[in-house]
Symmetry: C2
Subunit: 330 residues, 2 copies
Amino acid sequence: RCFHFCKLPGRVMGIRLLRFTSVVIIVLLLVAGALTALLPTIKDDKLPNSRREPKTQSQSALDSFTLIMQTYNRTDLLLKLLNHYQAIPHLHKVIVVWNNIGEKTPEEMWNSLGPHPVPVVFKVQTVNRMRNRLQNFPDLETKAVLMMDDDTLVSAHDLTFAFSVWQQFPEHIVGFVPRKHISTPSGVYSYGSFELQNPGFGNGDQYSMVLIGAAFFHSGYLEDFQRQPEAVYALIDETQNCDDIAMNFLVAKHTGKPSGVFVKPVDIRNLEKDTNSGYSGMWHRAEHLLQRSYCVNKLVNIYDGMPLKYSNIMISQFGFPNYANHKNKM
Amino acid sequence: RCFHFCKLPGRVMGIRLLRFTSVVIIVLLLVAGALTALLPTIKDDKLPNSRREPKTQSQSALDSFTLIMQTYNRTDLLLKLLNHYQAIPHLHKVIVVWNNIGEKTPEEMWNSLGPHPVPVVFKVQTVNRMRNRLQNFPDLETKAVLMMDDDTLVSAHDLTFAFSVWQQFPEHIVGFVPRKHISTPSGVYSYGSFELQNPGFGNGDQYSMVLIGAAFFHSGYLEDFQRQPEAVYALIDETQNCDDIAMNFLVAKHTGKPSGVFVKPVDIRNLEKDTNSGYSGMWHRAEHLLQRSYCVNKLVNIYDGMPLKYSNIMISQFGFPNYANHKNKM
């Protein structure tokens, strides 16, 4: 309703309205100015000389990844690899899963040789279990995990490229080691690699798993892993094997698609032979591959079906190391 | 309201209700039965001996593709290629865009040499235009288009694999010929291939276009192409070139992502030298590449921005031709 103003003549009302709006505008500006002055000044509240966390604020959780490396009886290889991996672009933090029960971690020595590019956390374990590396570590701040075996050296170029591929396929295990299962007329599955016959879907080969010992995957899958049937943990503990096969089952069930995306590595090396410990890794055990076929069949029982799907997509980096890798005879 | 029934004693009402519902049910069943009898019987209304369309019903629109091949002055190559391409798995139909104005198509000869695996339609054009192949042909029944230049031979294995890749990336141009643009400090763009310097995003090369002369893409983009600014058609007509660059701009704008996915061909050949016509193709013109740089800059003007994005993903078929293509020295 329009009591006061409407009764006044037009010109007087115009002037009063103008004065009123001016006052309102000035008051608003003053309030805005006061609020701006109250804003906190941007300052870096981390000590620049802090050994442990010099640059963690600079990489956002989406643009960086956490390296999780489980280690047993190969500390010399571990330290060699840490020197390499600590400098990989987009690395946020390293989590070392220390399976050397009762043995001191090299943390003191590590700190004495600082500063380091990223924080490294040593998670001391109480039991030497293969699946220790699949815990949902509270230290994990990034969406992406890079999981590496403690005897595997992958070049920085390969890792940088594979990380960019993971960012385009975040629900998949993006890594460097493809494997497959095949089914047989008896209904029993077998696990293997290129030496097994092709699954028979057109020409060429197929893979249905990407091993997590050299791969990127979403940290959410570590959370999911905590909610699996008890029989899965029992199987991994019984065999001290197959945690990676179990993860592929988990991911395939979750996505309804092939669990992995294979990125062909340019430079991947196994440093096993270089260790002084004399310890040569689980995969040398005679029963290793048979165990893995056994695990595939057990997991099919546990999950009541075979969720793994085949893929034949192999990804390489265009024009790297040089453009010869894509030139054709056209 | 409840007049009749409610006044009746419970038992009598129950029996009457039962009778009533039984009658209703029987009537409904009779009606349903009558409707079923009226359904048309499923029959194949195509003559099994029809030369033109023997198997079109068997491939669904999602699992097959249409080959569109434009041809000018190279009928000998066209027919050689048609013999090869007509037998590619998952091919639904071939559309030949006949740019030989005033000249009879080889349709009669084609029919006399039947039967053929798939229908081939010759679309007679009235003007010899490069963009004739980008019409929204009513003959198109599939979601996927395979577009091939009339001098390009790609192996069936490559095509089958690339089609399966397209099915995983249906909004992209999935093909065998990657190209890129680079920007310069002056803001002027240049078009080229591996010989141009890398765009500088990390190591290795990048591509920002996949040429449509050997690629799969969604037929919806042909529809979209009809709705572009007039200046785009004028540019293509002026240069008799750049229709593929324009398509990449269109796709990149539509998706906000790199327009193409490069599949590294195992066996791709240019048959130019094999023609008896003496005609050697547009790309031999001295100004060809300069025209394409010119087109990139014109299209940036027309679309008021550079929509092309870089990718360095190169896809190959796992384990084909043999597993050596993915074995590593681990």
